[in-house]
């Protein structure tokens, strides 16, 4: 019996491709009646493809989605109910999976998929610039005041180097704002999901910190309207001191694509006024099951996912192999597990670590609360982009007014989507 699984690393990512093929071979040997038909793609999800595939109903048997796609998949009627197939026997690590990750693939009492990656965000710092500016890279700043201070020191280095950077285009401005406000203790949307909640002291505090760094301290670049991809390049070129991201930015983007040096980066928790982040925007990916799957296919799919993505030491978590293949080991991501499973994962990771986990200790020990994304996330982020942009390009930006205008727009979006 065959199951098709997508998001397999293509040949243009040779090491990951090799590891995937090894895993498939091993899995098929252990389960002789299952054949895994891999669909190689990167990036794993392209919006137009995803929408088209759901409409046509020809998604793979086991298909990759972002946490935020849940409603779209459900509305398209393409998600199979796997509640009865998942228990502690079929998924040994079930009780240790981070609750917010499971919640992302559950609607009401029905389970629709298995999460495979979960992340929160922190503050990525450039250790090289920190040292050059006389700062201690093992103690990343935790409050906005400290960030402002450190950013000033780094900007003094000159040569086009800036201490802090942030996004303001391509929906990424709103995305980062969400994370920053979560850390501050605020919320994007009220708990009922009916109205915007970011026009608050917390929202203002975040924007004020950014505005201060840009126009008072001049520790942010005059070039704004940046979208995903730019800050990573600046970090790789050692022109940026700090920015907010999830750990995988380092080993997925900055090092392999932008040529950064793996040992030049560290992470601290998200900045907040208090120094202890109240939470972080979190996100992740999962695999769901196509509506047309047979029970046998669902069982096989679950077996594969457990093998590849939910067992420390095997498949995705085969740290020893990753180290042998030249991949960095030691990053605090994905944060999928708690309890005994997490302990096992940490132990294996430390044994094969190639980067110094101490570089990320303040981030890892902050144990940020994963907050999930707001309803209609992309639409909300899009609305906040101009707010971020105005704050970062207009010296006389009226933060209160910007937030209240955006509140009206977001309320309209929430009302429209019904």
């Amino acid at each position: 019996m065959t199951i098709s699984v997508d998001c397999a690393p293509p040949a243009s990512a040779p090491q990951q491709h090799k590891e995937w093929l090894e895993d498939v071979a091993l899995f098929e040997k252990q389960n002789p009646n299952i054949t895994v038909n891999s669909i190689f793609e990167n990036p794993c999800e392209v919006p137009a493809s995803f929408t088209a595939m759901l409409k046509a109903g020809n998604e793979p048997n086991v298909f990759y989605t972002y946490f935020t796609d849940k409603n779209q998949v459900l509305d398209a009627g393409q998600a199979a109910d796997i509640t009865s197939y998942v228990n502690s026997k079929t998924v040994p690590a079930l009780k240790d999976i981070v609750p917010t990750a499971l919640a992302a693939v559950t609607a009401g009492k029905t389970l629709y998929g298995l999460p495979t990656v979960n992340y929160t965000q922190g503050l990525i710092i450039n250790r090289v610039l920190f040292k050059q500016a006389g700062l201690n890279p093992d103690q990343p700043p935790t409050t906005w005041a400290e960030v402002e201070q450190d950013a000033k020191a780094i900007t003094k280095l000159g040569h086009g180097i800036f201490g802090y950077g942030d996004y303001s285009a391509g929906n990424n401005g709103g995305w980062h704002f969400s994370s920053e406000i979560d850390a501050e203790g605020g919320h994007m949307i009220n708990s009922a999901g009916t109205g915007a909640a970011f026009n608050s002291d917390q929202g203002k505090a975040v924007l004020q910190a950014l505005h201060q760094m840009r126009f008072v301290d001049h520790s942010m670049s005059p070039t704004q309207q940046l979208a995903w991809g730019t800050l990573q390049k600046q970090m790789a070129a050692n022109k940026l001191g700090m920015y907010i991201a999830a750990p995988d930015d380092i080993y997925n983007v900055i090092v392999p694509q932008d040529g950064g040096n793996i040992n030049d980066y560290g992470m601290g928790p998200l900045p907040s006024t208090s120094g202890t982040p109240a939470g972080s925007l979190s996100g992740g990916n999962d695999y769901m099951f196509a509506k047309r799957d047979t029970p046998a296919q669902i069982e096989a799919g679950i077996k594969w996912l457990v093998f590849e993505n939910l067992t420390p030491g095997v498949g995705f978590y085969n740290y020893a192999r990753q180290k042998a293949d030249g991949f960095p080991v030691g990053f605090p991501e994905p944060q999928m597990f708690t309890g005994a499973t997490e302990a096992k994962q940490q132990q294996l990771m430390t044994k094969s670590a190639t980067v110094n986990p101490a570089y990320f200790s303040t981030f890892a020990s902050a144990h940020e609360l994963a907050m999930g994304e707001p309803a209609d996330a992309q639409a909300v982020y899009k609305t906040l982009d101009p707010v971020m942009l105005e704050v970062l390009t207009n010296p006389n930006a009226n933060i209160s007014q910007l937030l209240s205008t955006a509140t009206g727009q977001v309320n309209q979006i929430l009302a429209n989507s019904g």
């Binding site: 919006p47 929408t51 509305d75 309207q225 509506k291 899009k382 101009p386 989507s417």
Partner: protein, 290 residues
């Protein structure tokens, strides 16, 4: 083989891959999908898009884009063709040059322009600074006036990428103008601009008119230029958001299956507008045909 026999291959392809999908699109615009159930939604998708303030912004932008594209993207190829037609040397070389950008994959060309337009480090502002001229924010200009610098920047990039085709077509048409007409005009004492107005333009009237229609229709459908240059199509304060960019946003960028039906509704509205416009244009120009 009968007349219809010759047609059948193309008609089948049109049928399956153009006409049928268009009908599906129209049907989808009247539906909504919730939790796997597709149901009749009547005009609610249309109501929703008309209620969206960005809808009106998008139409205003599309109009602005079209007018700008006519001034820059329509007039420039014509005058470049006239210029090239006068030269006696290097014609082949220049023709190739002009058509080169058309061959480039749009993403490559636009990434180049994105770099050129960067307000701090881009080539254009660099040059302006060296010439002691004021710099511009180009695509990132926040103004929403008519016209906005952001929109002009998008049109310039689009013109560079696409003018080659039109230029070559005009060039071909110019070569068909009988030389005696110019002789006659000169005998009447016409200078350069008079000759262009009274000989060149009237002689190429038909091709000019046809390309005008095609250009307008194509411009109103432009998507990838704004999309790549402004990271999503919207620009600052939505000042480069065209109708097609808005359709893309509804369909793919805002998450939620129901929004796809809104995208279909907007697509249908655009189709209607273009159809009415083209119909009207053709009817008007029909009267003045030879």
């Amino acid at each position: 083989m009968s007349a219809h026999g010759f047609l059948i291959g193309a008609v089948l392809c049109f049928g399956f891959f153009s006409w049928y999908p268009i009908c599906r699109e129209i049907v989808m615009s009247f539906q909504k999908s919730r939790l796997g159930v597709t149901s009749w939604a009547g005009l609610s998708n249309y109501e929703r898009i008309f209620r969206d303030p960005t809808f009106w912004t998008a139409w205003k932008n599309t109009l602005e884009f079209t007018v700008l594209a006519l001034i820059i993207g329509y007039a420039v190829p014509f005058f470049v063709a006239i210029l090239l037609n006068e030269l006696r040397h290097a014609k082949g070389y220049l023709r190739c040059l002009v058509y080169l950008p058309v061959m480039l994959p749009p993403t490559s060309a636009l990434l180049l322009f994105a770099y050129f337009y960067d307000p701090s480090y881009g080539l254009f502002n660099d040059v302006l600074r060296h010439l002691h001229l004021p710099v511009s924010q180009w695509v990132q200009s926040p103004g929403t006036g008519l016209p906005s610098m952001a929109m002009i920047s998008v049109v310039i990039a689009a013109t560079w990428m696409n003018m080659g085709g039109a230029t070559l077509i005009y060039l071909a048409a110019l070569q068909n103008i009988p030389g005696e007409l110019y002789d006659a005009a000169e005998l009447d004492g016409a200078g350069l601009f008079r000759k262009i107005r009274h000989v060149t333009i009237p002689q190429t009237r038909l091709i000019l008119s046809m390309l005008l229609l095609l250009q307008i229709v194509a411009t109103m459908q432009m998507f990838v230029e704004a999309f790549i240059l402004t990271n999503g199509g919207a620009g600052v304060n939505n000042n480069t958001l065209s109708v097609v960019n808005l359709i893309y946003q509804y369909a793919f960028a805002l998450s939620g299956a129901s929004n796809y039906n809104s995208a279909s509704a907007l697509g249908v509205v655009l189709m209607l507008v273009l159809a009415v416009f083209s119909g009207g244009y053709l009817w008007l120009t029909r009267q003045t045909d030879r």
